[in-house]
Amino acid sequence: MNNSVKSLVAVLFGLIAGALLMALTGHDPVEGYKYLIQGGLKNPERIGNTLATATPLILTGLSVAFAFRTGLFNIGAAGQMLFGGFCATAVGLSLELPRALLLLVMVLAGFIGGALWAVVPGFLKAKYNVHEVVSTIMMNWTAYWTVYYVIPAYFKGTSLETESRQLPADAMLHQQWLSDMFQGSYINFGFFIAVIAVLVVAFLINKTTLGYELKAVGFNRHASEYAGIAVKRSIVLSMFISGGLAGLAGVAQYAGNASSLQIGVMPSQGFDGIAVALLGINAPVGVFVSALFFGILYSGRGFMNAMTEIPPEIADSIIAIIIYFAATSILIERLYHKLKLRRAANKKQGE
């Protein structure tokens, strides 16, 4: 059974379960889904907003998927995203440069910030065999508290204590013509960064010797050692790239979808990235598609809530159920085999 089919089956089951939930709570599932999808795709503005919502998810999904493909479980995309976004914000608030150059420096700062945040666990793993799940979670909180203290101390907003100053217009990914094209949506250059990242990662993984090395280390560390690949360097490098991608998600979120950085909030996109990667079978294009799907659900749920009595949590439940099914795809596969066997048996009896 093809992996992408498994993901689609998981989505289907999730939607069916969502329909059951709506029906059980006394709502009309058809209506619910109608508004959910309309909310995400009804008009150009909503489509633009869906793309903008999906942007950080594409990047964090890509971050987690890349780590997975190279044998690492990067659970710290949230912290890397936060720190990358923080670096970009700090650059945007401190430097005065021509717009194009400023944006470029901000994107670079975001990438490197996220990458450095992931290199620490990578180094610990390579050198001392510290499991990256533990160390990336610790790094999440390190990022959280770093931002918590540094933002009020150096970049405090004029009115609110809990967020940074607004980024100047020149330091934002927002672009008027793009916004106009989508009839006032808050879509921004972040989406293009995400698309480019998808293409670059796909190329890196499938076509380059570097991708070959990193995947080999992920699949089998011992065989890679035997082949003469620098295993430790590869682990650190994988984390660097993975963290950088999460850092870009921070740039897209804090300098694109938003215009300031709030303290005391761990970005949920970091963890959603794990789900996106899982549903996207860790393939760059799969991640792109599944992030868009999540984007529709996230941006449509408000509309569904406004137009019907269905609580927006239903959308979250659907996502949760889809993740369950994607994670237990082995069960789906077994079910498929059973059905196939039964059909074969019936056929025999029929003869």
Binding site: T209, F219, A227, G228
Partner: protein, 510 residues
């Protein structure tokens, strides 16, 4: 007829494969009955069914003529069926007796363990069957051969009538093998019956009364061992005729290729695993390293290939010291390595054959340029090796290696390493777990390499393999070189004694 155990028409299917397809085996009382078959022929599945770990889809199992259903291993034990596993299941810090009674302890006043009377019984059994085991010795202090006897005692202690031996000689020295065969004869003389699972024809010849051969899940036939030649049994097993003798000309050694000088290597536990080991290997020569498993062979190889650091001493290739060079630098200076564990070291199982065949050269032209892989060149390379080394797989070069059989995985590795055209080819256990047909093929390729003027270092636990292929044999014991002998001037007995640590001169006289 009084059969102790009969398995008739057994069929067992797993998703996608039929492991057993109509197998019949009948065990007479008091016989040693060999079960012979290639890897994957269905031996283990059949025995797992007899031991109650799987249920057959079809077929009947009878014990003493009565039909039984063996639903789990406890039922098998109660029916008097015991299994001596290939990998021992012993608690190292416990004594022999404690291990034997584990699971069926005799109690004293409800709580107290009655080790004393158990130990007495163990001693009696040990004497009765000539096992010579000290009931109070700790497992970690006794030899592998002794540990195996403890496993046997475990079965006897539980009054097993039928003993299944699963590849029992894989871990033993030649002398220990002889002892074991003596023990097996004692057991049958005392009325036990034995099923011996093996693919070593020599052992069957030495000890078994009858032999059932299975191939691809089917019984090919049951023969009287005394009336059947080795060749005939091999043919039944493989399905075509097989030659055992390796044709080989006298070697013509050239210059020294590999020079090892008083090499010391520490293993992962920081203990000296190789101790001041010296050896020279010449072009056009195969030197075999003989030794019991775990006597420093792995560490020796890893120190040469760069996977383990050299503690002291030097290793040089064509006169250039290798100390301090990385694995890749050593590969590039002319070492090829067929690793001991093909699935752990030799292959990335989730990569395709194509990808695996460039494992050491992916970063060099023509397989890549400026950091980009060149699929065209990679495919051609794979096709070439697949063809010239007869690597079989489902979908050619695109097959995931995990889906291939062990023999074909090994052929792919050998093809990859030989095609790199090295000066030194290190082959560690190149035929482990392979069937007779593949072994024959791989042996031919290794000799071909020698004849082309390569230096071949062969490390094998199979003494026959070492004797058949090597020009000279270096014996290693406890990390030290015991001695080097010319193959033409030695025999299995002498090597066996050396493997046990006796120097050539001090071999005990009988």
């Amino acid at each position: 007829m009084d059969y102790v155990v009969e398995m008739v028409g057994i069929r067992k299917e797993f998703p996608g494969i039929v492991a057993n397809d109509d197998i019949t085996i009948r065990l007479k009382k008091g016989e040693i009955h060999a079960l012979l078959g290639e890897n994957g022929a269905g031996k283990s599945t059949l025995m797992s069914i007899l031991f109650g770990m799987y249920q057959p889809d079809r077929g009947v199992i009878k014990v003493h003529g009565k039909e039984v259903r063996i639903t789990n291993p406890n039922v098998a034990n109660k029916l008097g069926i015991g299994m001596v596993h290939q990998h021992f299941k012993l608690v190292e810090p416990f004594t022999v007796t404690e291990n034997i009674i584990l699971g069926s302890e005799t109690r004293k006043f409800y709580f107290g363990l009655d080790v004393k009377s158990a130990a007495k019984r163990v001693e009696e059994l040990s004497k009765q069957y000539g096992l010579n085991v000290d009931p109070y010795a700790k497992i970690e202090d006794i030899s592998v051969g002794m540990q195996q006897r403890v496993e046997i005692l475990k079965m006897l202690y539980r009054d097993a009538e039928v003993l299944i031996f699963d590849e029992p000689t894989a871990v033993l020295t030649p002398q220990e093998i002889e002892d074991l065969q003596g023990i097996m004869r004692n057991l049958v003389n005392e009325g036990k019956s034995i099923i011996l699972i093996t693919h070593k024809l020599k052992e069957i010849k030495a000890v078994a009364n009858r032999c059932t051969v299975i191939r691809r899940g089917k019984t090919i036939g049951t023969v009287e061992v005394a009336d059947t030649s080795r060749e005939a049994m091999a043919e039944m097993m493989v399905g075509r005729s097989v030659s055992f003798k390796v044709d080989k000309q006298e070697g013509r050694p050239g210059n020294a290729v590999l020079e090892i000088q008083s090499l010391t290597v520490k293993n992962s536990k920081k203990v000296d695993a190789v101790k001041s080991f010296s050896l020279n290997l010449h072009a056009g020569e195969i030197v075999g390293i003989a030794g019991v498993d775990g006597n420093g062979q792995s560490e020796l190889v890893e120190a040469i290939t760069g996977l383990l650091p050299i503690e002291s001493g030097t290793v040089s290739l064509n006169g250039k010291a290798l100390n301090g060079l990385s694995v890749r630098q050593r590969n590039e200076s002319g070492i090829s390595h067929i690793p001991e564990d093909r699935q752990k070291r030799g292959l990335v199982l989730d990569y395709t054959i194509e990808e695996n065949l460039i494992l050491e050269v992916y970063n060099r032209p023509p397989y890549s340029k400026n950091g980009l892989l060149k699929p065209e060149a990679i495919r051609k390379h794979a096709e070439h090796i697949i063809q010239s080394f007869d690597v079989r797989s489902g979908t050619g070069g695109r097959s995931i290696v995990r889906s291939m059989s062990g023999g074909n995985q090994q052929k792919a590795i050998i093809g990859r390493e030989v095609e790199r055209d090295p000066d030194l080819l290190i082959a560690v256990q190149p035929t482990r777990g392979l069937d007779v047909g593949s072994i024959e093929y791989i042996h031919r390729r290794l000799i071909e390499q020698r004849d082309k003027g390569k230096a071949v270092l062969l490390i094998s636990l199979e003494l026959d393999e070492v004797l058949n292929l090597s020009d000279r044999i270096a014996v290693i014991n406890n990390g030290e070189l015991v001695g080097i002998v010319n193959t033409s001037e030695t025999n299995e007995r002498e090597l066996g004694l050396m493997m046990a640590g006796y120097q050539k001169e001090e071999a005990p006289h009988e």
